[in-house]
Amino acid sequence: MLTETWVIYDRQIRSNIRNPVWVFFGLTQPILYLVLFGPLLTNVSGGGLGGDESWLIFVPGLLLQLTIFGAGFAGFGIIQELREGVVERQRVTPAHRSALILGRALSNTVTIGVQAVILVLVAIPFGLRPSWWGVVVSVVMVSVLSLGLAAASYAMGLILKDEDSFAPFVQGVSLPLLLLSGVFLPMTLAPAWLEKMSQANPLTYVLDGTRSLFAGDWGARAISVGIVCTVVVTVALTWWSARRFQRLSS
């Protein structure tokens, strides 16, 4: 099972290395927000914004954006593989079904981890002065989260089977989740009804956790809540995806 997961992971990573353009492609959106939108926040006041402090709020949001879109769109890859017959021929081997999906999702974890580090480095010249240990823990958190999200995305790709139905589904799920987590501005600025909705979104707690980590606020309860949320969401999504994958290939 471990060997099988490694074999699949290794295959995906090799293919990513041969097409590094995808690693940068996934980064363009968050970097554009960082460069063309982020600076506006340094002149806004309220909700902890204003000056260089804004980056401690905004960069964790971009990390979450990177994770949700990067891992969420992973399913496109498996739709292509389905068409090439790769999924089929891996299914006729005795390999564990969960290894086939875990190996793939792990490769996304690594890609997103690398992208997250690049994104943080790009933010430094703009005035990001975070707690470095907090950044390390945050990058680990979003990488772990991306495992669950990517696995779920692969399972949905297999269920929907074509890009035309998969694309609107991913957009329809990821964008509301992202906005409701308070990705661009903290939810403390939100009207009461929006804040309530935001509290129902587990990703809100992940983001609050990484913001506290960036700020180096180690005593904050948000950190432990965020970590627990990350683990629970990842375990739940990975378990569900592995089961779907099992069912889909009997």
Binding site: T3, E4, V7, I8, D10, R11, R14, S15, N16, R18, N19, Q80, R83, E84, G85, V86, E88, R89, Q90, R91, V92, T93, P94, A95, S249, S250
Partner: protein, 322 residues
């Protein structure tokens, strides 16, 4: 090697249930090549997918290489090789040698064994030197041989090939046919292949199962199928009135069918179907001579599988093949 009993697959669709495979029975013996023949949508691929554990049967049973597919599916997968229909153009970044090694490792081989096997397999399929080649740079024939290599990495004794030569040029087809025959003759591999090409089933298969609309309409050797359905076809031209010749033939041969075909520039021919062409020709020759209608041309041909399919389903396979 395979024993199928009452195998059924019903798909649920928006417009209601669709019976893709309707309770079929057949067997495959060790070391034979079985051809599953039928038009698109006949249920060939669905049957194959059930036998390969890719699809759970709705009902019925299939024992493949000694194991029930509804039981220990992993063990079945260990014992079989499966070559799917031609897939879409592969994404750049996948390399021939690596893909074969990945496949072998998923079959449980160690890295060293997998690599050794890959190096041995490539030349046997005329793919020497392709180890580092990107999949996207291969021709149709090379790609198909690569697909076959993937199905054979773990040296299974039973191999399923889904439309192995669809879309190949005649040369590549012939090469792949030779390789498939070699697998049976030299390695004793049992092979099940689906095709909608009559000539392919005729050339390769020891036995043919003809499917149509999810049911088996025939199961026999190619020769027996041809003999059983249409007998032999005799086509004659005479120096004189062809209608008179038709009456003579009807008296002495009592043919199953008798038609006069217009061949355009070559004039008309009398086309007869009889049980056995070889014994019918001398009789016909003598009778026509006595009636002063001397033969100017005669042709005896065995019926093709297309004639078989036409007789069994009322439709020609050629109209639906691609």
């Amino acid at each position: 090697m395979i024993e199928v009993r009452g195998l059924t697959q019903t798909f649920r669709t928006r417009t209601g249930p669709v019976d893709a495979v309707k309770g079929i029975d057949f067997e495959v013996r060790d070391g034979e090549i079985l051809g599953l023949l039928g038009p698109n949508g006949a249920g060939k691929t669905t049957t194959l997918r059930m036998l390969c554990t890719l699809l759970k049967p709705t009902a019925g049973s299939a024992v493949v290489a000694g194991i029930d597919v509804s039981g220990d599916a992993r063990e079945v997968r260990r014992r079989i090789g499966y070559v799917a229909q031609v897939g879409a153009v592969p994404a750049p970044g996948t390399v021939v040698g690596e893909e074969i090694v990945v496949q072998a490792r998923l079959q449980g081989m160690s890295k060293a064994d997998a690599q050794a096997r890959m190096r041995a397999l490539l030349p046997s399929l005329s793919l020497e030197g392709f180890e580092d080649r990107a999949l996207s740079e291969m021709s149709g024939g090379q790609r198909r041989r690569f697909d076959v290599a993937l199905g054979l990495v773990h040296e299974p004794k039973l191999v399923f090939l889904d439309e192995p030569t669809t879309g190949l040029d005649p040369q590549s087809r012939a090469n792949l046919w030779d390789y498939i025959r070699m697998l049976r003759d030299e390695r004793g591999v049992t092979i099940v292949l689906t095709t909608h090409y009559l000539d392919e089933a005729d050339a390769l298969a020891d036995r043919i199962v003809v499917m149509d609309h999810g049911s088996i309409v025939a199961d026999d050797t190619p020769d027996a199928l041809k003999a059983q359905v249409s007998g032999d076809v005799i086509s004659v031209a005479v120096d004189g009135d062809l209608r008179a010749a038709e009456r003579v033939a009807a008296d002495v041969l009592s043919p199953r069918t008798s038609t006069i075909e217009d061949l355009g520039g070559e004039g008309e021919r009398l086309v007869l179907t009889v049980e056995r062409g070889d014994t019918a020709v001398p009789v016909l020759l003598r009778a026509l001579d006595e009636a002063s209608l001397p033969l100017t041309a005669v042709e005896v041909r065995r019926p093709t599988l297309d004639d078989v399919f036409l007789a069994m389903t009322g439709r020609s396979l050629r109209e639906e093949g691609s």
